[in-house]
């Protein structure tokens, strides 16, 4: 019972991080029909920026804020100066482009920040809360993680559902030509979409790094988990991404706790294959069937 609770709480915290990463993938997919595989090294770079500043004596929160803002800028730059040029081209090109970006940004991160493992601070406690006599697996940083992802999710919902800007962004993603005819600056909306997605990805990177080690490849697994979470929920649905993230976090935590941490990526692969083959539209597929 104790172990099950531990597993569930760890899974919930991890799930929140995967959800944030999946959310970033979904935001970009909805707007540009591209799965941004380069999102992991983008988040690696912003996390390293935070680490450099914190090591230089800045407060954790200053580093945190700089990482998020630089994520926003990086996302906008990548869309405006690279991704825009494969718009409307063959699907394979976009995939290869984001993979090329993956290699470039990964190498850049290692070149600039070095390849050794470096520890990343956490702003809150990393030991579990005590309930009565037992220590449970929920840490202060875990609570912060879940809350931070929750805030971003609510923020995005408010943006997309409650503001004029969000409406224009949705219109640009839904039907470009019609949106353009209605006076929406589509290009600008797409740039903004990539920027917001990269910010969400940066948050995910910061949350994974907190209290752990960073390394140029530390998010390689997370790009897979984020993708699996997004596919679980259906690549089109932000809410699905969050639910998918939590489901994945819980499942992987079960595998890690009861089978072995080494097999976690394999479990993610199996889960992905099962979903793609049985319910390609994701667990929350709408009426419209999607061709996979």
């Amino acid at each position: 019972m104790q172990q099950l609770l531990t597993t569930a709480l760890t899974g919930l915290t991890l799930g929140a991080v995967y959800a944030a990463f999946a959310l970033a993938l979904v935001l970009i997919w909805r707007a540009t029909r591209i799965v941004n595989f380069a999102q992991a090294p983008m988040a690696v770079i912003t996390t390293y920026l935070a680490l450099v500043l914190i090591d230089a004596g800045w407060s954790y929160w200053a580093g945190f804020a700089v990482a998020l803002v630089s994520g926003l800028v990086l996302g906008a730059l990548v869309e405006r100066f690279v991704v825009r040029f494969v718009d409307g081209k063959a699907e394979l090109n976009a995939v290869i482009l984001t993979l090329g970006l993956f290699i470039v940004l990964h190498a850049l991160a290692a070149l600039v920040f070095g390849s050794r493992y470096r520890s990343f601070p956490a702003p809150f406690g990393l030991t579990g809360f005590r309930v009565g006599d037992t220590t449970i697996a929920l840490t202060g940083f875990g609570v912060f993680t879940i809350a931070a992802v929750g805030v971003v999710l609510i923020g995005l919902v408010v943006l997309f559902r409650g503001t004029d800007l969000g409406l224009r962004m949705r219109a640009a993603a839904f039907d470009r030509e019609v949106a353009r005819l209605l006076g929406v600056r589509v290009g600008r909306m797409l740039t903004l979409g990539w920027a917001l997605a990269a910010l969400t990805g940066s948050l995910s990177g910061l949350l994974i790094a907190g209290g752990g080690l960073v390394h140029p490849s530390y998010l390689d697994g997370v790009v897979v988990y984020g993708f699996v979470a997004a596919v679980l929920g259906g690549l089109d649905s932000p809410a699905g991404a969050v639910v998918g993230g939590v489901v994945l976090g819980l499942s992987l935590s079960l595998v890690s706790g009861y089978v072995g941490a080494e097999l976690v990526p394999l479990a993610a692969l199996v889960l992905l294959m099962v979903v793609l083959l049985l319910k390609p539209g994701g667990l929350f597929a709408g009426v419209r069937e999607r061709r996979v």
């Binding site: 063959a90 470039v104 190498a107 897979v224 990526p265």
Partner: protein, 333 residues
Amino acid sequence: MLRGHLLGALAALVVVVLVLENSGPFLTAQFTTMAYLAIAAGGLTVLTGLNGQLSLGHGALMAVGAYSTALLLKSAVLPLPVILLLAMVITLAVGALVGVAAARLHGPYLAGATLALAVAVPGIPLFFGEALGGEQGLPVRMPDIPGPLADAAYFVTGQDLTSIRYLAYLSWLTVVLVFVLLANLSRGRVGRDWRAVRDQDVAAELAGIDLGRTRVRAFVVSAGCAGLAGALMALSARLAAPSGFALTLSLLLVSAVVLGGLGSLTGALAGAALLTFLPPLVTGAGTDLGLSDVRAAQLAPLSYGLVTVLIVLLAPAGLAGGLRKLIHRRRTS
């Protein structure tokens, strides 16, 4: 057609002998690296260029070939070519399994699924640390050179056949064999089906081509190449370890195929040459500029990545499209 390929193969073998006989041990080892990368890239070229399926999991399939070789060499007394063949067959079987699933996916879904494969496979030797050596990996024993072969080599060249040179010959013989087979396959009916499925899957289906079977066949052929490449890589490194098959390997293979020109086997060879010989050059330039060794080592992937991005951006009709145009021009002229 076959005769043309065989003549080409014969010419290639002459070049291989001339080059290998005049290279020192370091260069010979580099040529072995180029050989196994070329085999893997050739397989990936067939899959991606001809059939339109992108795989990021070929590094993982190479790992299957490498570990099979290590285990076979440890447990059985078989001639090396038989071991290579067995390693290839085992990877082929794994590839068939993956291919059945992959055949139903396309674009980013296929990329994501094979990416998951690339990340998942290095965890398996860690989990079965007892049998597969965990983080340290399995040492690979290079078998002795068969006596008559060593004698014959001495008789012809006047120098002893070192195991490095033996492996280089074996690798390049494999390259020539694999490329002749792949070239024949892609020129024949099978290749025509692959291209038809890539270009117009609905029309291909209407013409009576079984889409699933055609895609699985391409995946299996390509996986077999990856298995062979992995086996040779294990022999050359004398080791099969998880760190050798990180995600980077799979991504670099994709960039090799794109750099060399998607869809042509010569391109795969060029891509493999770039992956082998560019890093020492670029890294050397980096250390000359005052970078540390570790950092300078990143300049090579940085340049592959940049060139990959540039190719995608500057080939306006798209990679496959540009190539098809080129082929079309050659056919009509």
